[in-house]
Amino acid sequence: MSDLHLILAVGAVTFATRIAFLLRPRPIPGGLVGRFLDVFPLALFVAIAAQGLLAPRGTPEVTPALAAAVGGIVGGILFRRNLWGVLAVGAVSFYVARALFT
């Protein structure tokens, strides 16, 4: 398989998972499935953040990114709906920790 074919295949696999429920939209059922979909976005976003900040090189470790996590949580509490505020507090915490400890 050439690189071009591989890229097309990965694109097809990825798009298939994206279009799955959009191709024939139906109302989300209630009960367990509805409750799962209700909390899945939050679980997904926290998992992405946790992996990047607490295990930036693949396994859990203490790095300046931990300060970004703490700063981001504080920013999230202070600026709940202001995304820029969360980014700013987290980024400043990261750069300060990196300057002090590395």
Binding site: L44, A49, L87
Partner: protein, 222 residues
């Protein structure tokens, strides 16, 4: 659609993704060429896949052959299934072309912005997400192109830009945490992710951790 307040808000909110997305794309462009893809194929891959996780995995496993790459891409793609179902519920009935377009750029970042917009009362989620998609796709392509063509001398890691990407998701999660159940789901996601990094292959960690944490939320009654 481009004149609607929701579209303009999508553009404004989408600008927050510019630095992390462009930096991520730049790193991808550099590493893909370094892994042996031509600059043209590197740019083409961003055009058709539009998934940082799948693309980084692809170049990481390039030497191992197509089967491991496609298995990993499938694992990474599983998290799109509940995202797709949630987005379908948020946008309601739409023409096929609109659904195909929104699915093409159904990525974590713009999905996150769209969910957040729905939580905060944005009227037209289709227009909002279309605008955010436009910003993301433009900078994803621009970053990849610069990285593939001129990236040898650039290292996003040294300036610490990589940390902005997970922070963006922390910011997206913040307005969703209201009830005790939300705090429990968030805590479960942290614990599950840390465990997943120790026991699961990278391609399955996020999907596995998010699924476990969401199931914890399902089992929690208030």
């Amino acid at each position: 659609m481009s004149n609607s307040p929701s579209f303009r808000k999508g553009i404004r909110d989408g600008l927050i993704m510019v630095i992390p997305v462009a930096a991520f794309a730049l790193a991808y462009g550099v590493l893909a060429v370094d892994a042996g893809l031509s600059p043209a194929l590197t740019i083409f891959s961003s055009l058709v896949i539009v998934s940082g996780a799948a693309q980084f995995t692809m170049i990481g496993l390039l030497a191992a052959g197509p089967v491991p790459v496609l298995v990993a891409a499938s694992g990474l793609g599983l998290r799109h299934l509940p995202m797709s179902a949630k987005l379908a519920d948020m946008i309601g009935p739409q023409p096929l072309g609109t659904r195909l377009r929104l699915a093409w750029v159904l990525v974590d970042e713009t999905f996150g912005l769209a969910v957040r917009a729905a939580y905060t009362g944005v009227a037209d989620i289709v227009a909002y997400k279309s605008a955010a998609d436009l910003i993301l796709y433009s900078f994803w392509m621009a970053g990849t192109t610069v990285g593939a063509l001129f990236g040898g001398s650039i290292d996003p890691e040294t300036v610490g830009i990589a940390v902005l990407f997970p922070l963006l998701f922390l910011g997206l999660a913040a307005p969703m945490v209201h009830k005790r159940r939300d705090w429990i789901v968030a805590g479960a996601a942290v614990v599950a992710t840390l465990v997943a990094t120790l026991v699961l292959p990278p391609a399955w960690q996020i999907t596995g951790a998010a699924t476990v944490a969401a199931l914890v939320g399902v089992g929690f009654h208030e």
